[in-house]
């Protein structure tokens, strides 16, 4: 139904029920974004004081800095690597649960097994890699004992590799749940028909399962991309300070009270994120998918 055809009382009831949500989102999402936008045009005295002014100085600083390009490249590298690994693992885990596990109770149990860590602390799950990846950690100990290496690998912890491992560990669940959800909705008669028509199992996956999971993949991608691009503590801790991302640089700027520069970089990052998310949303009507 088009909004123009909506009867007035439906509008009233709709707004009545949704008003508490709006009353939270306006002061705690819309207003803070506007504050950051305003701060990006302000001048600073360098000690955290802001002068209401209109200057593009912060943007010019950010855009002219060679560091900015480096930060974006690092962030994009982490995002793409994490996206590829979470997508592959998430897709096949969901595929296994939906199409290969015969007992439905077992499938539900295994699905829950995958989701439980989502409800525990991310920071704790991240630091839990230290006893494994560290210089004297389990992996190095095992490799040394087997004689594969003579000296402990230092690249395991406090490196880009550790950052990607931590991201994939935390975020694969964001791929599994939406892909699982769209796979479970595929009408099984469709697949039977395809088999009867002589399709191979690979054809079924390529021509039926993947296209019908597009909305799940899109939703998972939005989660993974926005979380990795907005993250700073995984990069800071797991790289041991060796790598930086756009938001971890933002965090450092805030730490030294460079609010306008931080705000300008945040506005740019938000624009990039909005562009990516709306590109994804063009391929799938997210609202239709969710409320279906």
């Amino acid at each position: 139904m088009q909004p123009s055809q909506t009867p007035p009382h439906a509008n009233l009831a709709g707004w009545l029920y949704v008003s508490p949500l709006v009353l939270v989102l306006v002061p705690f999402f819309v207003a803070p974004i506007l504050v950051v936008l305003a701060a990006s045009f302000f001048a600073t005295d360098g000690f955290g004081g802001l002068t209401p002014d209109f200057t593009l100085a912060s943007y010019i600083d950010v855009l002219h800095s060679a560091l900015t390009l480096k930060l974006y490249l690092a962030t994009i590298k982490f995002t793409v690597l994490t996206w590829i690994f979470t997508l592959i693992i998430g897709f096949f885990v969901a595929y296994f649960l939906v199409f290969h596990v015969r007992n439905q109770l077992l499938a539900i149990g295994l699905f829950l097994l995958c989701t439980v860590p989502f409800w525990t602390s991310n920071i704790i799950r991240m630091i839990s890699w230290i006893p494994l990846l560290g210089k004297e950690g389990l992996i190095n100990q095992a490799l040394l004992a087997m004689g594969v290496i003579r000296q402990p690998l230092e690249v395991l912890l406090f490196s880009d590799l550790a950052v990607v491992i931590a991201y994939v560990h935390q975020l694969t669940i964001f791929m599994i749940v939406p892909i699982f959800n769209s796979m479970a909705r595929i009408d099984k008669k469709l697949i039977e028909a395809a088999i009867d028509a002589g399709a191979s199992r690979f054809d079924i996956m390529r021509l039926i399962v993947v296209p019908m999971c597009k909305s799940g993949i899109a939703l998972g991608t939005i989660f993974v991309v926005s979380i990795v691009m907005g993250d700073f503590f995984v990069v800071k801790v797991m790289s041991g300070g060796g790598s930086a991302s756009v938001v971890s640089a933002f965090y450092e700027d805030v730490g030294v009270l460079q609010y306008p520069t931080a705000a300008a970089s945040a506005v740019l990052l938000t624009l990039v994120l909005v562009a990516i998310v709306s590109l994804i949303l063009r391929t799938v009507d997210i609202r239709q998918e969710i409320t279906r």
Binding site: M1, T6, A10, A13, G14, Y17, P20, L21, V24, P27, F29, P32, V35, A39, I89, F92, V93, F96, V98, F99, H100, R102, Q104, I108, L110, L112, C114, V116, P117, W119, T120, S121, I124, R125, I127, S128, P131, H169, F180, A184, R185, K188, A194, I204, I222, S226, M229, G230, F232, F233, V237, V247, V254, Y259, A262, L273, V277, I286, I290, T291
Partner: protein, 296 residues
């Protein structure tokens, strides 16, 4: 969650197996490959966590890596008695209180928003995208904005005002999305039947919808509690002078290099597991009660 499970029960059960993998007899080779992948994934998911739980039970000689040095509860005692590790007890207390407040608000507001989105209304798309925006916006940036806003208005940032709001901007979109999934499986016939029998709008919500949707509401509560209890990026600039637990853990990762960090991880994970267990248990209980009621 429960909606997803219900969905599974309806669709996966009878037919799946027939098509891609036969329901009886030999399994295709892909089954074994994918089963191995799944097992590896689960091991990688839980393995590291169990390492730190085990390492937190070392005695005073304990370090951050294996091998295990002795067994004791030393680091748990250390955690709650040493000043050096910060105010763990206080921040633990605050985080639980905050999570309870966030849970109550999240359940009520998400339920009402779920009701409103069942029909189109003027401006619904704006509200919807505002919600998605709040979900995907970098938490640290929103937190800084909220902090600066409070500063500009001359208000003091504290865990029960600015941090509460900042956390709601994170838990509510999740709560409403879960509510969407739950509501889309609600059969409107029941509601109409209630109206036909003379129920008021309030009665139909309180006596029909809420009992029917109870498992979904428990799922929303689970999201509200755990997302708030573990929330970090949005609280960092908004919690004011008193830390919540994740902020305490964050400062410990930067300056504590003893197993008391692991002990804290064990303690907070136990709390999470109790909450998850209680929620899933009550969902199962509700479903069971309903099943036996229908039969009897």
């Amino acid at each position: 969650m429960s909606a997803v499970l219900a969905d599974m029960r309806e669709t996966v059960a009878p037919a799946t197996t027939k098509a891609i993998a036969p329901s009886k007899g030999g399994r295709p080779w892909t089954f074994y490959v994918l089963a191995a992948l799944f097992a590896l994934y689960v091991i990688a998911l839980y393995g590291p966590m169990f390492c730190i739980y085990i390492l937190s039970f070392q005695d005073i000689r304990g370090g951050l890596v294996f091998p295990m040095k002795g067994q004791s509860l030393h680091w748990f005692v250390d955690l709650f008695t040493q000043v050096r590790t910060g105010d763990v007890k206080g921040s633990f207390d605050r985080s639980i209180k905050l999570a309870v407040i966030v849970t109550i608000i999240t359940v009520v507001v998400s339920f009402l928003a779920g009701l409103s989105f069942r029909k189109r209304f003027r401006g619904d798309t704006v509200v919807f995208y505002m919600m998605i925006g709040s979900l995907v916006a970098p938490g640290l940036v929103l937190g800084l904005g909220t902090g600066l806003l409070f500063q500009a208005l001359g208000l003091n940032a504290s865990w029960y005002t600015s941090a509460l709001g900042a956390q709601l901007s994170w838990t509510l979109p999740f709560g409403v999305l879960v509510m969407f999934a739950v509501m889309s499986r609600f059969n409107h016939v029941w509601e109409e039947a209630a109206y036909d029998l003379g129920a008021s709008r309030w009665q139909s919500i309180w006596l029909v919808m809420i009992p029917v949707l109870a498992p979904g509401l428990v799922a929303v509560a689970l999201f509200g509690f755990t997302l708030s209890y573990d929330e970090f990026a949005r609280s960092l600039q908004t919690a004011g002078s008193l830390n919540t637990l994740p902020l305490e853990i964050w400062s410990m990762t930067l300056n504590v290099t003893s197993p008391s960090l692991y002990a804290l991880g064990t303690v907070t994970t136990i709390v999470s597991f109790i909450v998850i267990g209680a929620s899933l248990g009550s969902i199962v209980l509700i479903q069971k009660k309903r099943g036996s009621g229908a039969k009897g």
